[in-house]
Symmetry: C2
């Protein structure tokens, strides 16, 4: 179950068997049905959830509407960034869009591993850098000024999500109303 994750880690830097066993022991596998909230506004995000299978959506409320901030599919990790790192309550929700199998670990366990296994700091640094890059790319998308550009960018970069995510959420993710997105899709289709 965890072998893709361990492969991913080993590709960054090979780790000792001891550390591997420790991780396997601390990572809890959970099965969660569709439409389940893993985190809600006002809570502190204390876990990293790694998606073994399924799809997650993160969002926050803005003037009574859900604003979609991120999708997390297989082998990606979900945290509410600010809440997790600052240990303060956040304003994000994490929800399953599909039935999911997740591997999760508590921040406290993670901190212990950081302290006891220096090698893991190297891994964590690189992973954090990778997610930082994603976050920057996301900004780039949001700054594409026209609605059409943003959707084309989404199509290019997340084609696999197009099939799995309802349009409402994609619209929200790229900062459009559902109606506008629908019109853009029509326009693109006729080309």
């Amino acid at each position: 179950m965890l072998s893709p994750l361990f492969n991913f880690i080993s590709n960054i830097k090979p780790i000792s068997n001891e550390l591997k066993e420790l991780l396997a022991q601390k990572l809890e596998i959970i099965e969660v049905p569709k439409k389940t909230l893993l985190l809600r506004e006002g809570q502190t995000c204390n876990h990293i959830h790694v998606v073994v299978s399924g799809l997650l959506r993160m969002y926050y409320m803005k003037d009574g509407e859900e604003v979609c901030s991120r999708f997390i599919d297989e082998s990606l990790m979900a945290i509410s960034v600010k809440s997790f790192y600052s240990r303060q309550p956040g304003d994000e929700y994490i929800e399953t869009l599909e039935p999911c199998i997740l591997a999760r670990i508590h921040k406290d366990e993670l901190e212990l591993i950081y302290k006891e296994h220096d090698e893991f700091n190297y891994i964590a640094r690189v992973i954090t850098e990778q997610y930082f890059i994603r976050s920057e790319e996301r900004q780039y998308l949001l700054r594409k000024q026209s609605a059409e550009e943003r959707y084309l960018y989404f199509m290019d970069n997340y084609p696999h999500l197009l099939q799995r995510v309802p349009l409402t959420y994609i619209a929200s993710y790229i900062g459009l109303t559902l109606e506008t997105l629908s019109r853009i899709r029509k326009k693109i289709a006729t080309k």
Copy 2:
């Protein structure tokens, strides 16, 4: 010159004198006049620049226009994120907006330190997390849908930059034209 930086690092986790000396040795202090380009499109970002004094702007070109992606002032670090981590040429520019004193270190030196000093990975991870949080907050700003909201958010969160950065760049940073920003400022002033 570097003591604020070392204080900052020690606050994350105290480091050995050996590491401190190594860093001091590898960090090069440079003095750069206003309006100097530290990085341009097509180049690979190989250095981290820490601002000792002064102010930097990062931007990229989009349809022949400069789009401002970030400001970096005292004690903050500048890299073109994707280019730096991937070692690929990027599309960002880094420019001094004021005369600057900078401390810089080459990525190769940094990698050596990562490999030889595991403790430094801990520091780097935490710093990366902090910048990751900023990046997420930036996204949050960009998703504020109205022009006025975005400007108010900027005022709240970067009041010190309001004095130092020309409006053109602020407008670009929050995704507006200069004219629109000017009108918003007028509107806000009359309240």
